[in-house]
Symmetry: C2
Subunit: 695 residues, 2 copies
């Protein structure tokens, strides 16, 4: 956030005048508007708004303010005050409408909280009513959780609603019809679908169902223009666009189109996922073109737990052309006028732009997605810390890729001064690893110290050997394998990190496990997979390599990551490989990461199964000769290890969802006790024989 509150009144006026005289009218509007998104003294706001109002004079009729803001789930006072701020701004510069993301008073998602603690629903209605009182001729669209009547109710207890407020009161209420329950979405758990699209009278607030549908216009007429208002998923069900494969039988946009609205408005809270940007762009463009109606789409920005929302609110004209788009991953107040072509296209995250016009959803190419991946995670970390009140992070720096990338992301998310990297060498740790860790810390300017775990591991090992001997007297099932001792190292390190977290105010330890290793259960419980937050849990190893290179090229300070970290083969340095006498390489224990990551990608994106993969050529196979028995061995190992990794997924700390699919437990659910699934399947004939054998 830019800081303008150091400016004197004089300085600030000079800045405004300079902007106005240096630029075209449209440019000036956006430059001035950006000032408002910075930190600014109250007394300067009036001056700013007066000038903006003058500039907007000619566009006035039909001008809309898109308030792309970052709410805190359940902190209604905080969210409501932000809403008030932007309503006042819109009033002062004379806009017709100001619009906010879905459920803005509550924050999205709020999940079962509203059901267990109904007081917060009452609270958001009280705030809504009081906010309505301060509205003037500028209309505001404010999302809130609407309680339905409590007694004698058919269906869920709440609607996901938008209030249309102006002239001191609630004018009408729009309710969400289509309620997603896939991936990270759970709307239908607690929300009742609206039986009708568009506006219903304010009198229905708090007591509405299909018997109370009023035969009123579904569009809202505001200063002579008709607006077709919908909420998030309501615009994601166009039968034609989705090639006849849709989730719901209704299409609220189509219903609204019957009244020939001048403009569509959609209030959303849509998290960013790999490849979704392309789909969203094409779909919104398709709808505006199909109905020859401009589409104004406002999206939530910021992260709530595992979901990171990118903002990128946007407007398409009636021909389906994009003519305005707000910044990605930033709060912004974007002024547009769909009728008069007032708009500015802020850039999407780099690379992603290229994908917009292509339909290739199924690709393993990481390049176009790296900046988005970076910003998604940065925002995820920053908002998790901000919203839970944590300020500092501590992590182990092993000199390996995972902890290195985590350190960079943390430094960028919460500030290098708030990050502490601890090198915790064991007797296996090479001096090269220690040097890489120290070098990284120096490059990043994060805090750094070394604390050896040798002594602690020794004592723990001794204690455990005695204990194992005692247990062995009763239980004849001892492995005597090295991984028990390997895990002691990882757990000792976590003990240090959690100790620091407990001892220093507002400090969270970081879990550094990556997605490839989590799929394989190749992560230590209470060790490297333990922490307050897991930044890269949804990034597979091969993408991490690409991200490391990208970070070295694209951050302000280049090459923070030592080249050696990127070049070395990943390995946990927990054990010595008896064959080579060197630390065990992860790929020895697992399989080549390129192959592993392609299995994951095929399962998540293409829903392939074992025999699909046996019978098709992997990209890895185009480059390397893989004997059939090796391929089968890897596939078998994958499914076997994945089946027993389900428990680890269930206790994984909060993490940012990045990919199209993930193993994040709020996104993907599989019973741990389903570990006996036969992923290979059987032929009809085999089944028949098995049954006949029972007769």
């Amino acid at each position: 956030m830019e800081n303008y509150d150091k400016y004197t009144a004089d300085d600030f006026e000079k800045l405004i005048n300079k902007i106005i005289s240096d630029n075209s009218k449209i440019d000036s509007i956006y430059k001035l508007s950006e000032l408002y998104d910075g930190s600014i003294k109250k007394e300067h706001i009036l001056l700013l708004e007066k000038n903006l109002k003058n500039l907007l004079e000619t566009y006035k009729n039909g001008s809309i303010g898109i308030a792309q803001i970052n709410p805190v789930a359940g902190d209604i006072e905080y969210n409501a005050k932000k809403v008030v701020k932007y309503i006042l701004h819109a009033q002062n510069i004379g806009l017709d409408i100001v619009i906010f993301p879905e459920l803005i008073l509550m924050g999205y998602p709020i999940e079962d909280t509203i059901d267990r603690h109904p007081v917060i629903v009452e609270e958001n209605v009280k705030w809504l009513k009081q906010i309505a009182k301060i509205t003037t001729s500028t209309t505001a669209l404010v999302g809130f959780v609407e309680p339905r009547k409590y007694d004698h109710l058919t269906g869920k207890k709440y609607y996901n609603s938008v209030a249309v407020i102006s002239e001191g009161k609630i004018q009408s209420v729009v309710r969400k019809s289509l309620l997603p329950t896939y991936s990270e979405f759970n709307d239908y758990r607690y929300i009742e679908p609206s039986p009708v699209a568009g506006c219903q009278p304010a009198s229905t607030l708090g007591d509405f169902d299909d018997e109370k549908i009023q035969n009123c216009p579904k569009t809202a007429v505001i200063k002579g223009k008709k607006y077709g208002i919908s909420i998030c998923e309501d615009c994601w069900n166009n039968k034609e666009f989705f090639n006849d494969t849709i989730l719901y039988s209704k299409d609220p946009i189509d219903e609204l189109s019957k009244e020939n609205p001048d403009i569509f408005i959609n209030c959303s809270a849509s998290p960013t996922r790999a490849k979704k940007e392309q789909l969203k762009h094409n779909m919104l463009s398709f709808i505006s073109k199909k109905y020859a109606t401009p589409m104004v789409y406002v999206n939530q920005v910021g992260a709530i737990d595992n979901s990171s929302f990118d903002g990128s609110s946007r407007v398409f004209d009636k021909n389906g052309n994009l003519f305005a788009r707000a910044q990605s991953f930033k709060e912004q107040f974007l002024i547009v006028n769909p009728d008069k072509g007032l708009g500015k296209i802020y850039p999407l995250t780099k690379g992603l732009e290229k994908t917009l016009t292509e339909q290739k959803i199924y690709t393993l190419e990481y390049e176009p997605d790296l900046e988005r991946t970076y910003k998604t995670i940065i925002q995820g970390i920053r908002d998790y810390f901000n919203k839970t009140g944590f300020k500092r992070a501590v992590l182990g720096l092993s000199g390996g890729l995972d902890s290195t990338v985590c350190a960079v992301l943390l430094a960028d998310a919460i500030g290098a001064e708030n990050v502490f990297g601890i090198s915790m060498p064991s007797k296996i740790t090479s001096s090269a690893s220690k040097n890489d860790a120290a070098q990284l810390a120096e490059n990043l300017k994060i805090n750094f110290t070394e604390a050896g775990i040798k002594e602690m591991v020794e004592v723990t090992n001794n204690c455990l050997q005695n204990l194992f001997s005692s247990v062995e007297k009763h239980w004849d099932c001892r492995y005597k394998q090295s991984f028990t001792m390997d895990n002691i190292q990882a757990r000792s390190r976590a003990m240090f990190l959690w100790g620091i977290s407990n001892e220093f105010e507002g400090c969270l330890p970081i879990a550094t496990s990556d997605k490839s290793e989590l799929y394989m259960g190749y992560a230590t419980i209470n060790g490297d997979m333990s922490g307050g937050f897991a930044p890269i849990a949804d990034v597979p190893k091969t993408k991490l390599f690409a991200l490391a290179r990208w970070l070295n090229e694209n951050r302000e300070i280049k090459n923070a990551i030592p080249e050696a970290v990127i070049l070395k083969k990943p390995g946990a340095e927990l054990a010595i490989n008896p064959k080579t006498g060197k630390p065990l390489i992860a790929e020895d224990a697992l399989m080549p990461y390129e192959f592993l990551d392609e299995i994951i990608w095929r399962i998540e994106n293409k829903k392939e199964h074992y025999s699909d993969m046996v019978n098709s050529e992997f990209l890895y196979e185009k480059k390397h000769t893989v004997p059939r028995e090796t391929k089968l061995e890897w596939l078998d190992k994958f499914y076997r290890r994945m089946s027993t990794a389900l428990y680890k997924w269930s206790i994984l700390p909060p993490s940012v969802i990045v990919d199209s699919r993930s193993i994040n437990k709020y996104d993907y659910k599989q019973p741990i006790t389903s570990s006996r699934i036969n992923y290979k399947g059987l032929e009809e004939k085999e089944i028949e024989e098995k049954i006949l054998a029972l007769l």
Copy 2:
């Protein structure tokens, strides 16, 4: 499971003859049937079935076999073979129908697994088709996940279906209409609601939607009787019974009733929850009476992850009277004939019976629920171990209530010989605690050893003090409080337990945290709240005391729990209270458990909020004088601590859901970043003032 396979053919025949000659005909049927649920040689089965067939001759027409079985989620071959076993049995004794719980081929719940791994859906259809081939004149109702057509689809990809199979083929398909998405249920995430109740022709299998509804009878006519078949939630929406407050607008039972069926059948997978038994009993009784039609209800038994299903399948006659009920928490094949009054009522878990006719859902009385609580958890532990392939458990025995009750439950669930209790004294641990732990282990006959953590804690503390000094040079925010060191003890113990788990085959460490303490975040991450399974995470402390007494009175070996454990005040023995010089008592750090547990109960069951509780008298207040400021202090502390405990709930190991509501993450979802919720709420006036201050 009783073991009859040691019997010779002769012995077995004698056993059968004795049963038949000693009992009435009905009694003999049930006694013989119970033999079948034991372990029995294949060659004896024929003999048994021949005798049963003779006995059933007079009841034949309209006789139904209720196969109450325990499936493994996703292990289709295992489930299908069980289905075949019971179909053959039903055929051999000449029943008209044999019925199975909901989704029996797949196991319920299966969650998103079917979406990510569609191969298992193909697999369950293949098995269904092959099973149909072996059917004869006995009809079987077999639940399965039915794929809908894959292209050009509106809605979700699957139905939750029951196939009606006989004479070598699928006769018709019944699909679930009402899809719960509350609590532990997620049906609507991946299942499409059926647009119609009852039967549709087999030809619709795999390609059905509302345009393909056939105008055929919805009831299935089997040997001259009309059966109205529904699936689980489909029977939970009677408007009259639920006093006009229902979740869905349709009522499949009412739709089916239009054809005047002779008998209703409902195939369910309904987990046991506190107070649900009473509701279910009354509801099923109400429906059968209202429609003057007997209701045959078959329920899944066994646990899948966090959900424990109690079985207790049952039959009500057309007057709403219960006349048959299968065992609770056991697999059973129960033969009934609703027309001819053939049935047997196996007892419900003790105490619960009393609650059946009472409508008092809101009570804090634990007594009637203790046996159910015990059996729910025992089954939860046993099935988690069995279904994931674990065999042994290791836990720390502190001499406190939590670990003590866990040890008893584990011994009963997986066998004392498979449980290892480790006493891990620190310098604070009293000798009384050590003795209590040793005594308990002896009483339970579990394995036991002692392993002190003093040395390890000392070394860790030393290392950490050095590390803290280094960190302190960069960060000026050190607490220097004792809880950091307290946590080291808990984490050292977990290090031992996880070490044993790693070193010994099939061994899981146990997390001993209870519900009251989890609500307060009074549990150590990577310490006592860490483990492969958390048996008592849904049992509040005051109920644990009651359960301990109940265990002492009701287990075969009485008084296994030393009286001292029940009498002492709970405390983690991690720190010394500076005021008393004795180990800190938990209630000093928190509040009286009686008060704490009542807050939890009021929130979960009555959805009360802060001001409701301020303004009503607690049961605790009836017994103790509580100054108003103390009450407010406790309430404030509760909400403050709960807000910061959300993260801990998210990483809690799998645990059995026991209460009506829980904090189990698969049952209750709240964003961790919603920790800033104002649970007290504001008055309209306060809100107005806050808004005016912004103008």
